[in-house]
Symmetry: C2
DNA sequence: CGATCCGGTACTTAAAACACA
DNA sequence: GTGTGTTTTAAGTACCGGATC
């Protein structure tokens, strides 16, 4: 271990191994015609000197990146955390790294994040757009010719590469199941009214209601944050109003958890049937075990990565890559179903 | 918008503005003596050409990085997610970005991650070591003279820059409170036996038991994964054994959630007093609202960032920077306390 | 403002090794 | 033993986009 701080470069290794810089470079990348003898000599020199490859310098010269930017609204949300895991795992398989920026629900911060990622010369970006995103963000990215994929939320009237679950179907599945239970009055709790996915889910809800010969307009609509507080506030509002609907459809499991708390806080005697959304890991541990719409966050992350990788493989392709997955109803007990045996 | 793919460089901007490359560089960094008129001309040229700064090239020349590596076991865990948010927010304030690697509980993957981050020439690394980490990981990092900080878990007999909560105190606080409730038989559920923090918390538990003139050795010790499954398995084991202890101290809130589910699955008539750990956001929504030990994940992340930033400011300092925060007992109802008014 | 440098990569050129007449 | 052609191996050098003097 030398106490010297100067970084060890190709030249140092070359000198020590008695070869040229170029040869060392070939050995590192395992290409070119270099005899096995010199290969070994170079490798020995590398480890003796504690050489560390400089990816930045390499990608500058090569004009290519081995990093992908990820813009996400909240890493601490288990759903996005899981999404991120899937994304990261798949990118790692192609030896790409993730540069992550956590923006919160701020479109301006997201635009700034994308600009910064471009300065980092990322190979592409994967984005969960903030609730209030406008087509401007989409345009910014599309005009920059940067490979990109939007995840779980899309911006209306701004087609992009996109990976997400079929929200309409999700809303439909939840509602149909509740109808089968005999529910006749419905509320949709939480979720910012600005996100398209909320409208889509509500469309699904209304479609199911119409199919059950109920008035699709009768649903009580309570937008709010997509977290515990949102559920708490929405349920409180319903409690204030006096009469509770039979069924709650929640924009996320977190919203459902908040709704439960609000109801229990006032010792509500008869809990409505409740369905969550996302099926995060605690949902099955909840009391009662939470019936939810599973969107397979991990898989969505993988698909997003694959979408991006395809763009990296065919940079000039003109087509828009879109993957819509089918969410699934995970039946547990909060909807009124009996415990599984 | 030109359809040309070639990247716009300083030279292009310089040409257009009728100045030299160097001048443009000065304008970008807002330094040097350049007249306001020229500055404007350069700025105009930049935006007209759609110039994008190349941080990679700059940091190659400047021999400094604006990225910090983060090695984390599981982003999807709300506790680590929150930690990450605090870290990221604080680093962003110093205009540093996060390169995140999700390793799972695999020490080898962590070592590989650190090696890769070094190739990326990160300014430093922040790490949550995997359960089975050995001093080898610590040595690898220390020998590389890379600024670093370990978070929430440390490796015994391998002192490093470290930020974490006082686990002994956490175990003590939980136990003392349960003793005040009159509990006399205890179980500690979940958490891999390989992590030091688990031993520390158990020490705290034992200290409290001794203080309450109970046998410190009598505690039932059930190690396992620190998630819902771990809690499920541990509680099931206790149920099999026949007699349930009065009090459960869980290694994480997730473990507590799993334990609750296991108990409810068999319609357990009298639930033990249960205390969780971490105080993740859903804890307060749980039924009953979960009493937990709060370690303020967000703040820990911030402190880790500050620790790292201090090292970046004084690279040659010989001292080991350690911050131990005081966890707090958050009293709710799962311990047996009455609901807050 | 021009020259040089940061640490790699890519392309060109040349020396050496081996084949076969 | 010499000459020519081909292949293997390695060296030389311009260059990537900024920073510094």
């Amino acid at each position: 271990m030398s106490t010297e701080a100067r970084t060890v470069t190709l030249i140092d290794v070359a000198e020590r191994a008695g070869v040229s810089r170029a040869t060392v470079s070939l050995v590192i990348r395992d290409t070119g015609r270099v005899s096995e003898a010199t290969r070994q000599r170079v490798r020995t020199a590398m480890s003796e000197l504690g050489y560390v490859y400089n990816r930045g310098a390499a990608s500058l010269r090569r004009q290519s990146a081995d990093t992908v930017g990820v813009v996400i609204t909240n890493v601490a949300n288990p759903f996005f955390g899981e999404l991120l895991r899937g994304l990261e795992a798949e990118l790692t398989r192609s030896s790409l790294s993730c540069l992550i920026v956590n923006t919160g629900q701020d479109p301006a911060a997201q635009a700034a994040a994308v600009a910064e990622l471009r300065e980092h010369r990322v190979a592409g970006v994967a984005i969960v757009p903030a609730s209030g995103s406008t087509p401007a963000l989409v345009d910014q990215i599309r005009d920059s010719h940067l490979p990109h994929v939007f995840m779980t939320r899309y911006v209306k009237d701004a087609p992009t590469h996109y990976v997400g679950a079929d929200d309409q179907l999700g809303g439909y599945l939840a509602t149909r199941h509740l109808l089968e239970h005999g529910a006749s009055t419905f509320a949709y709790l939480g979720g910012p009214s600005a996100v398209q996915s909320r409208w889509d889910r509500l469309d699904g809800v209304r479609r199911a209601l119409a199919g059950g010969s109920l008035d699709p307009g009768a649903i009580i609509d309570l937008p709010g944050p997509s977290n515990g507080d949102g559920g708490l506030a929405a349920a409180d509002q319903l409690l204030q109003a006096g009469s509770l609907p039979d069924a709650f459809i929640c924009h996320s499991d977190q919203v459902a958890f908040g709704a439960f708390r609000a109801l229990r806080r006032v010792n509500c005697d008869r809990l409505p049937r409740i369905v969550g959304y996302d099926d995060i890991p605690v949902a099955r541990l909840w009391e009662p075990p939470l019936t939810s719409i599973s969107t397979q966050a991990h898989e969505l992350g993988q698909l997003a990565a694959q979408n991006l990788l395809r763009q990296l493989g065919a940079p000039t392709s003109r087509e828009t890559l879109t993957t819509i997955t089918k969410p699934e109803l995970v039946v547990r007990e909060s909807c009124g179903c009996p415990p599984a045996p």
